[in-house]
Amino acid sequence: MKLLEYEAKKILAKYGVPTPKGGLATNIAQACEIAKTLKPPLAIKAQVPVAGRGKAGGILFADTLEEVEKVAEKLFNMQIKGFPIRSIWIEERVHAKRELYFGITVDRFNKGYVAIGSTEGGMEIEEVAAKSPEKVLRFPISPLQGFRPYHARQMAKHMGYSGNQLSTLANIFHNLYRAGIDHDAELIEMNPLVENSEGNFVAVDARMIIDDNALFRHPEYKEKAIEGELSPQEIEAAKNDLAYVKLDGNIGVIGNGAGLVMATLDVIQLYGGKPANFLDVGGGAPSDKIAAALKIVLSDQNVKTVFINILGGITRCDEVAKGILQAKEKLGIEKPMVIRLVGTNEEEGKRILTEAGIHVLDSMEEAARQVAEIAREPRKNGNNS
């Protein structure tokens, strides 16, 4: 789960990482009240869970109260990458002598965490990493020892610091690591970590993603994870423990296993169809989960036909069949469905559906071809089945 900038900064501040003085506003009046308590020049920053916010115009500046009002109004009427701006963070600007990058994330290949640091932080850090990888320090963290204070000092030294600055910077690195581990972060980063004209360090922007699978250890974020900035379908899906991603076509897709569902989308496209969504019911879905999945997919008005592709391993075909019937009964589904059902308890599943007059296919590619064809036909009135 992605935290917003201000949430990440609150956590950093608690762990002793210096952040600029600021406050959160959800309306213009509140923004002005906060601005009064701060020393200009000020930065006003949209709180949205997406990267590249600065380049999208989500970070503006103001020197006076009038400017704060104007800028706040502008931001509250804006969207960034589809996300409406519901809150803004107002903080004192920090004059940057130098912008650093420091973050900790997961390194899949080495099966551990890795600390990453650079003296060329800021918005262009990705280009720096691509063009001059030698300017980016990568420090694999041993899970046995963790990221110790001396590791932090080594990194600060490699970044060219010494004396008091080295100790201060190393402390910040180490504190960031502690904040990340304590919160099960799969990413925690400061970019930029500004070195100001006095030689002090301030985390001007921060980002943090908490491992969704560890939310049971962090109940304070669990509620928020479901609300967030999601579409109605995505919220329903999260509540039912289903993985749903909205796409822009007209063929609803339900399957079991992320790989199979992705391959299903690929094959539908190969036959000229356009998927309306990605929906993975996961492993071992009981009938009511299948019914919930159908309800979510059909609540998208663009969906003209639904393709259910189940290859049962841990998932039982009879449960899937029961779920389809359950949904059909409750929702009165009239849109055509193409069903492919093979694997564990396949005979029983097929029998249940065939007896209810629903045709079941064996081949995923044949089913994808059929559903793409149905989606291309002009919409018929009345009964489609």
Binding site: V136, N213, L260, D266, I314, M364
Partner: protein, 291 residues
């Protein structure tokens, strides 16, 4: 023959009394897998499908000899179960459980490396050496013994492709699901190395998907080492819109890697045949093996 598991594998099932644990123990037994004991804390003294259940792995291993474990324990307790198996000397641990926190998975992998054990998963369908041993949840009837080694990051997509191979009479030596999580025990390169040494394996089917850079690394390895056995690859996710980005740090690690195009290009450059549809894997494999 085959890799990691064979007819001599003796396994325990951790979490044997749960719905999934008990359901799949039955199917593993029917397949002929030697399941010698089960472990569920608090359920010691009972039996599941005739398999004796113990409270701890230690106790199970005092009564039975076993060299593998398969774990169905719920996510919050699964890492603990894996560490318990490793500390008691089990050298092959298959973790079926999904949704294990990354931090817990990292701990398990680190300890496994220390004690020189093999972890398959988490979030995997498991491993099967057709005709000899199934430690997993895959439907057994779609596999048959043969010479194609399979490595996959996916579960159901593996079944799809295995069924296609079997239909064309192309049996499999061993099929391994690496697991769908960010941190898993084996990567493509580890398994390619094992298949290289296995006499039964004549060709490898490699099934990847978008995200991460493990496919690209495998492609590099195949090219650099002049991998001696033919490989056919399939990558799921060609049509996926650009997914969520893991902030700057993720982008720094991956560079341009992670997209379907990047992976497909990497394999083509390494001389690996890349299938367009799942069913094409069997078609390409048939051509390669008839050469």
């Amino acid at each position: 023959m085959g890799i990691i598991v064979d007819k001599n594998t003796k396994a325990i099932v951790q979490g044997i009394t749960g719905t999934q644990g008990s359901f799949h123990t039955k199917f593993m037994l029917e397949y002929g897998t030697q399941i010698v004991a089960g472990v569920t804390p608090g359920k010691g003294g009972t039996t599941v499908h005739g398999v004796p259940v113990y409270d701890t792995v230690e106790e199970a291993l005092e009564r039975h000899s076993a060299n593998a474990s398969i774990i169905f324990v719920p996510a919050p307790f699964a890492a603990d179960a894996a560490l318990e198996a490793l500390e008691n000397g089990i050298k092959t641990v298959v973790i079926i459980t999904e949704h294990i926190p990354i931090r817990d998975a990292i701990n398990v992998m680190t300890y496994a490396r220390q004690v020189d054990a093999t972890i398959i998963g988490p979030n995997t369908p498991g491993i099967i050496t057709p005709g000899e041993c199934k430690l997993g949840i895959m439907p057994a009837h779609i596999f048959k013994p043969g010479s194609v080694g399979m490595i996959s990051r996916s579960g159901t997509l593996t079944y799809e492709i295995a069924a296609g191979l079997t239909k064309k009479q192309l049996g499999q030596s061993t099929c391994i699901g690496l697991g769908g999580d960010p941190i898993v025990g084996l990567n493509f390169i580890d398994v390619l190395k094992l298949f290289e040494k296995d006499h039964q394996t004549e060709a490898v089917a490699l099934i990847g998907e978008i995200g991460g850079n493990l496919e690209e690394l495998a492609a590099d390895y195949i090219a650099k080492e002049k991998y001696p056995k033919p490989v056919v690859a399939f990558i799921a996710g060609r049509s996926a819109p650009p997914g969520k980005r893991m902030g700057h740090a993720g982008a720094i690690i991956m560079g341009k890697a992670g997209t379907a195009e990047s992976k497909i290009e990497a394999f083509k450059n390494a001389g690996v045949e890349v299938a367009e549809k799942p069913s094409d894997v069997a078609v390409l494999m048939e051509k390669l093996l008839k050469r």
